[in-house]
């Protein structure tokens, strides 16, 4: 019924449910006997809990249980010494400020919230450090771990180049802050049967993690996560608070719901780690790059290591015979980070794409010409051709649309009263990933097609994309196709991350549709029907109510022969007020080069959303810590500034829309990450072009412009 209401086949298939409030997110399932859990958190940053007084809380009205390390509800994996250090409720150790130390379960949310305020802890404090820059400087606090260094040609060749620069870039902690608060409903029943309603980017991953912690079979656990109110990476793992909720349900024998607070979203579910990067670039006077050195330090926690691809882009994005990179992680006493949209690549692209702009300026070249001059024909890192790459065409489209010809190479040239106008460009690039997924297709005699896979949709429009793939192949109208996801009992698929879902699950949809078509053709031939017969007629003739096929699909040898990436170009026109230092993004043109566009409407929204995320990264977002206490001080939406409607201009999205011949049957590459990667550098470059001020520390706030 809902889908018949779609006016356009490209409309989001779940649009009706989302605009009517009928789409159910994890916290919205009604379970008989549902109870409410509220987490108590540590008020110190490092040390040990010396006492925990739960008596008042236990006596408070409506309270069913208070669970902490004192009563250690059983979780088999945590009984062992090995495994993660952060064993929730199995340790009295405090690793960071805001760490969950107890959960109070009551029969209403208000009662649980009040009772949680009655739990009192005392601690033995230890000295701590939450300051990343200090951790870098203080050799005692350093415990560096790294990924392999990379070297091609001569190390630090930039130092002897005709024109050289070496600059340092700083990115603060950013917090994902999807609009939906994190949490879970856990319903542990007798015989170790567990149902959870989760906010997860991967139902199979959640199922696996819980099975592993509690040492119960995967089949005992049902994970439901049909609608997810945004993730941006933070729902790519099962967090301790989710394990705590499962423990609580197991302990009391009733379903428990936990929805954390916005403040807790800063401490319990990861963040984009701070990074300090130095880039050295060398070029000859003609504008050919002769050396690239990219060194990065990324923040991590003391109890778990986190790494990401900060220095990847430097290795292949530009033609250069001498490239070396290094990446080390530095632990501080904060919660462990997690990938945030565009992950490390977005961090790295800010530095590299700023430096490229700086080099173009040093050479007195147009930064677009400089990029084109250094555009590689093949991937020098992997020594392979690119599977598809249309960067030069993308540059041209974007330059025309933004009005690049109006840009002056000399910064500060365009003035109108106090407003200075500037233009900036940058490139984004991300691995065109394709994993392994299974999809079940059920073709029915009523003319409908049901597709099922345990994938997720955190917002990009997974169901819409899959429906359109099937629609094109099967010639079945979209309102007759249903794609089911977010259910761990469906055929397995990987988590939604790394811009891989359309490529991975879409390929399996493709394979299922091809198989269904050939089965229908066989049936038609066997029953003396025309090969082009409609499947409904073929099924009816054969007295079959339906046929069902499950296919697993994954990439083949093409990966060995080609280097596969998605690319984006971001053009930005900014206006900077020279009196107030305010930066207004006036115009945005983004060009995506990610193969075939399967779902034009949702693909455009992905690019728009990436640009908006990029505005936040460039201009406003920074999680600030008071290092005296190790606490976030802007842990809410009034003080942590994400872009609002008035911050965002019209965004002109363009796609090259040429199939990648090798990646997958659709020729489509992912685009969730490239929508954001590089965007912040385009803004920094535009601000430089407007003002002559090079801001190398994000976010670009008015104080930095006026300094």
């Amino acid at each position: 019924m809902e889908k018949n209401m779609l006016k356009d086949e490209n409309d989001r298939v779940d649009g009706f449910l989302k605009v009517t409030g009928k789409a159910k997110y994890f916290a919205e399932y009604e379970l008989p006997g549902l109870t409410y859990g509220v987490l108590v958190t540590s008020t110190i940053t490092k040390g040990k809990i010396t006492s925990l007084d739960t008596k008042s809380a236990e006596k408070a009205p409506g309270v069913i249980a208070v669970i902490s390390h004192l009563n250690k509800p059983s979780a088999a994996a945590y009984e062992q010494e090995s495994g993660p250090q952060m064993k929730i409720f199995y340790t009295d150790k405090i690793f960071y400020n805001g760490q969950p130390i107890a959960i109070v379960v009551a029969n209403t949310f208000e009662r649980a919230t009040y009772a949680a305020s009655l739990v009192k802890a005392t601690y033995a404090n230890e000295t701590f450090n939450t300051d990343f820059e200090k951790a870098l400087k203080d050799p005692k606090a350093k415990k560096l771990q790294g990924q392999a260094d990379y070297k091609r040609g001569e190390e630090n060749a930039y130092k002897t180049a005709e024109v050289k620069l070496e600059e340092r870039y700083f990115l603060p902690i950013e917090t994902h802050n999807p609009m939906e608060l994190h949490g879970i409903i856990a319903d542990w029943r007798p015989n170790n049967q567990l149902t959870v309603y989760a906010k997860t980017q991967g139902v199979k991953a959640t199922q696996g993690t819980i099975a592993n912690v509690f040492k119960i079979p995967m089949e005992n656990i049902q994970v439901n996560s049909e609608f997810v109110g945004g993730g941006f990476g933070m729902a790519l793992r099962t967090w301790p608070l989710e394990i705590a909720t499962v423990m609580a349900s197991k302990h009391i024998g009733k379903p428990v719901k936990v929805v954390i607070t916005r403040m807790q979203m800063f401490t319990m579910v990861g963040n984009r780690p701070a990074a300090i990067q130095t880039i050295g670039l060398g070029a000859n006077k003609d504008g050919k790059l002769t050396g690239i050195t990219h060194r990065a330090y990324g923040e991590t926690s003391t109890y778990e290591n986190f790494t990401e691809g900060v220095v990847n882009m430097a290795k292949f994005m530009y033609q250069c015979d001498n490239v070396n990179t290094s990446y080390v992680i530095v632990p501080v006493d904060l919660g462990v980070p997690i990938w945030m949209r565009g992950p490390g690549e977005a961090t790295g692209a800010f530095a590299l794409e700023s430096a490229i702009d700086e080099m173009a300026h040093a050479l007195d070249m147009d930064p677009l010409d400089f990029r084109i001059k250094n555009d590689p024909e093949t991937d020098q890192q992997k020594n392979k051709p690119f599977s598809s790459k249309n960067i030069k065409e993308a540059y041209k489209i974007g330059a025309d649309k933004i009005g690049w010809r109006n840009r002056k190479n000399k910064p500060g040239s365009l003035l109108e009263g106090p407003w200075q106008t500037g233009y900036g460009v940058s490139v984004g690039v991300f691995n065109a990933n394709r994993g392994k997924a299974s999809v079940k297709g059920i073709l029915k005699a009523d003319g409908s097609l049901l597709l099922q896979s345990a994938t997720s949709d955190i917002g990009p429009g997974t169901g819409t994309g899959m429906t359109l793939i099937a629609n094109k192949l099967m010639n079945i109208p979209v309102n007759k196709i249903t794609f089911e996801l977010g259910d761990s009992s469906l055929p397995p698929a990987p988590s939604q991350g790394g811009s891989a879902t359309l490529s991975t699950v879409g390929s399996a949809v493709n394979d299922v549709c091809v198989a269904l078509k050939s089965t229908i053709a066989e049936l038609a031939a066997n029953s003396n029907m025309d090969a082009t017969s409609n499947f409904v007629d073929v099924l009816k003739k054969n007295n079959l109510p339906q046929i069902e096929i499950t296919k697993e699909s994954q990439s083949g040898k093409e990966k060995d022969s080609y280097s596969m990436y998605s690319f984006s170009i971001h053009f930005v026109q900014v206006k900077v007020n020279s009196l107030t230092g305010v930066v207004k993004i006036n115009k945005i043109v983004s060009v995506g080069d990610s193969g075939t566009i399967v779902s034009p409407k949702t693909a455009r929204s992905q690019m728009v959303g990436g640009a908006v995320g990029g505005i936040g990264m460039a201009l406003t977002e920074e999680s600030i810590i008071d290092h005296r206490y190790g606490r976030y001080i802007n842990n809410n939406f009034a003080d942590y500034h994400v872009p609002v409607n008035a911050d965002v201009p019209e965004i002109d999205v363009n796609f090259i829309n040429k199939p990648d011949p090798y990646i997958n049957p659709m020729g489509a590459k992912g685009m969730g990450e490239i929508a954001l990667i590089g965007f912040s550098a385009a803004v920094a470059n535009a601000v430089f072009n407007a003002t002559g001020k090079r801001i190398r520390t994000l976010p670009i706030t008015p104080d930095k412009i006026l300094a």
Partner: protein, 207 residues
């Protein structure tokens, strides 16, 4: 907080008083039954009655008569009591607009209003906007212009957008953006949301 900072808990003593007085009152009325009730922990339920306040309100043209703890927000009342979960919790601090509903025709953040403050008021939530399966023009325009991705802020955006049009704050893209800036969309659908509002405004229907 250090344990020495702990003050006598006023909440507890008030509660203890209520518990005692409710049991005493009950005993005065029907001793046998009340003692039995106390044994079954029913004094807790008596106390609960004292702590709850009667409330009459209309939600989506349906009248509700109930008793509710005064500390329950309108948002939690809608979501947890009435199971009208279309209204979303994004921050619980009036900072994100995900919980926007109409109270007597005005858009408000339901997380900043206690349920008991809405005595006698008419509330419209996202569930009350469509006419059966016929979408409100703003809902249809949001689908057409893809004014969302994850959909979580969407009910609040739509309630705010309807009010924005009714308020007449739709004279330019800039004005719409300004008057829609109390509703955060982390997926970044803002330009599409503005497109949807312009379409409804230019459609000229009474909304």
């Amino acid at each position: 907080m250090k344990s020495s900072d702990q003050k006598p808990n006023q909440g507890d003593s008030r509660r203890d008083f209520l518990k005692k007085s409710s049991v005493i009152t009950a005993i005065a009325l029907t001793p046998g039954a009340a003692i039995k009730a106390a044994e079954n922990n029913a004094d807790e339920r008596f106390a609960e009655l004292f702590e709850k306040i009667p409330l009459k309100l209309t939600v989506n043209n349906k009248a509700y008569q109930t008793i509710v703890e005064p500390r329950v927000t309108l948002l939690d009342y809608l979501r947890e009591e009435l199971h009208l979960t279309g209204t979303k919790k994004g921050c619980d601090h009036g900072q994100c607009g995900a919980c926007t509903v109409h109270v007597d025709g005005q858009r408000i953040n339901a997380c900043l209003s206690l349920a008991v403050m809405n005595e006698g008021k008419k509330i419209t939530t996202i569930e009350g906007l469509a006419n059966g399966d016929t979408l409100h023009p703003m809902q249809a325009a949001f689908i057409k212009h893809d004014g969302f991705q994850c959909g979580y802020c969407t009910p609040g955006q739509i309630m705010s957008a309807v009010a924005c049009v009714r308020e007449g704050h739709t004279n330019s893209r800039a004005e719409i953006s300004e008057y829609m800036s109390g509703n955060i969309c982390r997926c970044g659908a803002y330009p599409n949301i503005v497109d949807a509002i312009i379409e409804v405004k230019e459609g000229g229907q009474t909304i």
